[in-house]
């Protein structure tokens, strides 16, 4: 990935990057413009975009120190925040509707059991995001502004950053293996593909937090002292 590549070629090579540009506020309709031009017009730091896109699309990618220094922590936090909204406002909402459709032919007991599990998952995700929104992101913004906050550090975040993929994985297995036979297969396929997409996307989200946010803020913390 290079700054002088056409944005369309980049997205064409890996369509999953569509969600990345969306979250950074880049709109479609970039025509023949390069990555750099598109970013500039949307007011996005091009280095941050490339860093996120590389980690997102390249398996086992390790960013260089130069890339980490060139990217902006503020932009990264903006991206992570937009991801959270995207999951909660779009993906999980849509899934909830799909599940309602899917479970309509089931008995009330079966419906309740699965929906209760789904709601439990949604709650877990909301709590996980709320912690980052309320504690971690404000901390990163202040460290990026050169101000160290007493009583919190990236180390605390790293220690408490637990995975939220287990319930989602369970949900996928429940739909795939144990769904009551009265359920409609096409709707089940829709639910499954959305679950798989969400699972893969969240995995990248966690990867971006662990392999970009944490080392980047660790370095900024050093500069504050």
């Amino acid at each position: 990935m290079r700054k002088n590549m056409k944005m369309a070629d980049l997205i064409g090579a890996d369509y999953r990057l569509l969600t990345v540009i969306y979250r950074l506020g880049i709109k479609l309709g970039f025509g023949e413009k390069t990555v750099e031009e598109t970013c500039r017009e949307s007011g996005v730091n091009c280095d941050t975009f490339l860093l996120i896109a590389n980690v997102y699309a390249t398996e086992g990618y390790v960013p260089t120190t130069e890339m980490m220094t060139a990217a902006s922590a503020i932009d990264l936090v903006r991206y992570l925040h937009a991801s959270h909204s995207y999951y909660l406002d779009h993906e999980i909402q849509d899934l909830s509707r799909i599940f309602e459709d899917l479970l309509r032919p089931c008995t009330p007991m079966q419906r309740d059991v699965i929906m209760r599990f789904f709601d439990g998952y949604r709650e877990e995700v909301e709590n996980h995001f709320a912690y980052e929104e309320d504690i971690v992101f404000p901390y990163v913004r202040s460290v990026a502004g050169g101000q160290r906050v007493e009583g919190y550090s990236m180390e605390t975040f790293e220690e408490n950053h637990n995975n939220i993929d287990e319930k989602l994985n369970d949900l996928r297995n429940i739909v795939m293996k144990y769904l009551p036979p009265v359920c409609d297969t096409v709707t089940a396929i829709k639910a499954l593909s959305r679950l798989c997409t969400l699972e893969a996307d969240l995995e990248k989200h966690t990867l971006i937090e662990n392999s970009i946010l944490i080392p980047m803020v660790n370095r900024l913390e050093g500069k504050c002292q």
């Binding site: 079966q110 059991v113 287990e166 319930k167 994985n169 369970d170 297995n173 429940i174 144990y178």
Partner: protein
Amino acid sequence: MSVTKKKILLITPSRIIARGITSILEEHGGFSVETVLVDLSRENEATVRDSMADIVIVDPIIFDFASRPSGRSRISDLTDAAVIAAPTAVTDDETIKSYDETISIYDTPAAVISKLRNSLAQSAGGPRTENREELSAREKEILVCVAQGMLNKEIADRFHLSIYTVITHRKNITRKTGIKTVAGLTVYALLNNLIDPASVE
């Protein structure tokens, strides 16, 4: 000399054991030790995967205590070879049973050879615990307890099992169903009519 020798892969941290087994098998002639590994690190996993071994002989001590019961499965994930335990420390029965054979360090050379041959006949269907992919009756009982919120200790007491046996059952339940969380197992139990909906709050 036209008979192909059966290939053996040894995993043991003990040089003495490795040389002892190698020497016994060389004297017999029907088997040849191709590879000796001291543990099952990432790199060595690849060696096991790429080996064309017919039999893997492993000292279960290479797995730490908590993961020892699932050691056999880890090896089976890498290779279809028969897997024989050669324990140098006391190892619980459940773990021992998951292997195709067990050789003792006090076995005579003839006994070792006969166990090796036996294991080749045994291993055709992979690890024994994986032969039946449906949950066993005991696993269903334990799943119901988990779904009702019981702790491992409480389950162990109810069925007079060791806590490690309960953990092994729970691992097998998760491996078979693909469900890790307690809430997910509760969904499984309810959808499969294993419990009365009124018994979970």
